[in-house]
Amino acid sequence: MLRLEPRRSPSQAMVWLTPILAVLATMIAGGGLFMALGKDPVDAIYTIFVDPLLDPYSLPEIFVKAAPLILIAIGLSYGFRAGIWNIGAEGQFIMGAIAGAAVGLAFYGTAGVWLLPLMALAGIVAGYLWAMIPALLRVKFGTNEILVSLMLVYVADQFLRAMVNGPLRNPQGFNFPESRLFHDSAQLPILFDGTRVHLGVAIAVIIALIAALILSRHIIGYNVRLMGSAPRAAMFSGVKPPRMVIFCLGLSGALAGLAGLFEAAGPMGQLTPTLPQGYGFTAIIVAFLGRLNPLGIIAAGFVMALTYIGGENAQLALGLPKAAISVFQGMLLFFLLGLDIFVRYRIAPKRREVA
């Protein structure tokens, strides 16, 4: 018989090996899934994971998809490390998009380089404030932040519907529930001609690098890590849990709000009810796949974006159903969490215990 034996300290090799193993395991299990759907598994996996990298149209799209995932996951990772679970990034994403879009539409037709920064600020503030609801309720009343932040996703979604049906609806849009298309000054500049890669992609990567620096070098990052691995020790060293809750939820809310604004002012170019694509939830997978480490999250964000783009291609080329990719991504998180055991435990043959 085999048994689990705790390691003295977490295995660093395993910390980075498990995400790779999880991706491989998901490919195998996913191949089985695609076979069950009557598709050639090798062909499907190739279409999802390799084709987009070779295709000049798909490659830049990976960057466009990865940007919001990375931004949101960076924010979530701080909280997840400290045991603060913001599950409502999707809601903060929507509120950021609404606030940023409202600013852009308020100055409709006004040219100026100041407009985009103002929109970004509005997005950040809106996401931050939306995240402050679960944060303050937890600090003041001890309310569970998981449930509150999640409920607020549905509230934000309805709020978006009300906005595009009311104040922000395109006056010339034949009553379609959509905003106007943003004018040029309110759209994110494109980095490479002929693609949709916008400034937000670069900003997302820069923010991830800053987050990595803060996590490893700054006292805030140290406190976040301490709070996660030894909450009692953190309290003795002067870390105040309420402040940590507000910081972590606020940070993830602000970044999710920024990501929402980038999505509205970037690839979408307007506010529509179809803006929320579930990035706030997929980012949870990205955060874990990246081992809650900002650099890992950059890589994980690109892998996850690859499955999105590859999945879309497979829909067209192989007729693979859209939902198959969600299953695929869910499986990935399962494998990741399951394999995680090798970080803290090793498998050893069962010894006979001395009586």
Binding site: V153, F159, N165, S326, L333, F334
Partner: protein
């Protein structure tokens, strides 16, 4: 104001139907949490139940088998969660989330060719003669078997947890898994059983949505009901009887807002009524332990109700986008969670002490 569009009897009947998925899912999750496991995957298990129940019912033509299939499928899905958290010792919060994401995806995949179909109907239990008796008939005898099953299940769970040895052991595991292990109880096996039971009930709750409540299959149709079920367990302070109360509260809010949307009523007047109702419930629940602080709270809620009433009377044509009404079940959940978590001592007494903690025998 015109309330003729709201027939109280019909409202109560549809309230009880709307509450049934919540009663089922929350009762299941209550047992899971009593065993010390926090399974946040209720939403995923419910939607799996919704799709499997629907497919089985449509293909075989028998809704009872549909419910059975839903229970089995969701229990199987829950056991993935159980394997990961109990055997591979993964984080319960993260794994529960994974279960929800996976369940939503898998259900969408399985159900894609089943949209727009009507399922075979689940008939009422009692003969029509009984259910047409004035007032009592529709209130007591006009439901399908699942409604009664759900209520019986709550009673059965209460009896099991409080009156049987098995229930005592389950609670012991939830209160202190190391002590229970030291006494020779098989912590992992007991928790796995609880997780599977919770999954089965969540699956039936989901199937009730797609087979009776809606009745149709559409992607993401659970729309947060699984999460509300989790909130109800907290609301109920881990007591089965109160699960019914919580589920009816949310069922009532859902039904009321749907009817207000349909009848296009003045929302301010409704708000006044709702707040007055909340104040009365607060008063009744806490009547035995009223402190000055609580009295102030209740008076505040009541004065908000009066304020809303004044606004409604001075602004009778006020109408709101229906999207705002659709928010109310979720906002109610938040408000209820806040109202309850203020009482920290009671929560600490009732919450299972080992809830969410990882158990490893050699540690």
């Amino acid at each position: 104001m015109d309330f003729s569009a709201l027939d109280p009897l019909a409202l109560i009947v549809s309230l009880i139907i709307a509450a049934t998925p919540l009663v089922l899912a929350a009762t299941g999750e209550l047992v899971v949490e009593k065993s010390g496991v926090l399974n946040l995957g209720v939403e995923g298990m419910m939607i799996m139940g919704a799709v499997i129940g629907f497919i089985v019912s449509v293909e075989i033509g028998n809704p009872v088998l549909g419910f059975a299939g839903a229970a089995l499928a969701s229990a199987a899905l829950a056991l993935i969660f159980g394997f990961l958290t109990q055997v591979l010792l993964s984080n319960q919060v993260a794994t529960g989330l994974a279960l929800t994401l996976f369940g939503l995806g898998l259900a969408a995949l399985l159900g894609q060719s089943y949209t727009g179909i009507r399922p075979p109907s689940t008939g009422d239990v009692f003969p029509e003669a009984l259910s047409t008796v004035p007032v009592i008939g529709p209130l007591l005898f006009s439901y399908d078997w699942v409604v009664y099953f759900a209520l019986i299940m709550v009673g059965a769970v209460w009896w099991f947890l409080n009156k049987t040895r098995g229930g005592l052991i389950l609670r012991a595991v939830g209160e202190g898994h190391d002590a229970a292990h030291a006494l020779g109880y098989r912590v992992v096996a007991i928790r796995m059983a609880a997780i599977a039971f919770g999954g089965a009930l969540a699956g039936m709750g989901g199937a009730y949505l797609s087979l009776v409540r809606v009745p149709q299959w559409s992607e993401g149709m659970t729309a947060g009901i699984g999460w509300i079920a989790l909130a109800i367990v907290v609301f109920a302070s881990w007591k089965p009887g109160r699960v019914i109360l919580g589920a009816w509260l949310f069922g009532g809010v859902t039904i009321l807002q749907l009817n207000i949307q349909a009848a296009n009523l003045n929302i301010l007047g409704i708000l006044a009524l709702a707040l007055a109702g909340v104040a009365v419930v607060m008063l009744l629940v806490q009547i035995r332990s009223l402190t000055r602080h609580k009295v102030i709270q209740i008076v505040m809620v009541f004065s908000f109700a009066l304020l809303a009433l004044v606004l409604a009377l001075s602004w009778p044509d006020f109408r709101l986008d229906s999207a705002y009404l659709s928010m109310t079940p979720y906002l109610t959940t938040i408000i209820v969670l806040v109202a309850l978590s203020g009482d920290k001592t009671r929560r600490a007494l009732n919450a299972p002490a080992s809830l969410g903690r990882v158990f490893h025998a050699s540690a």
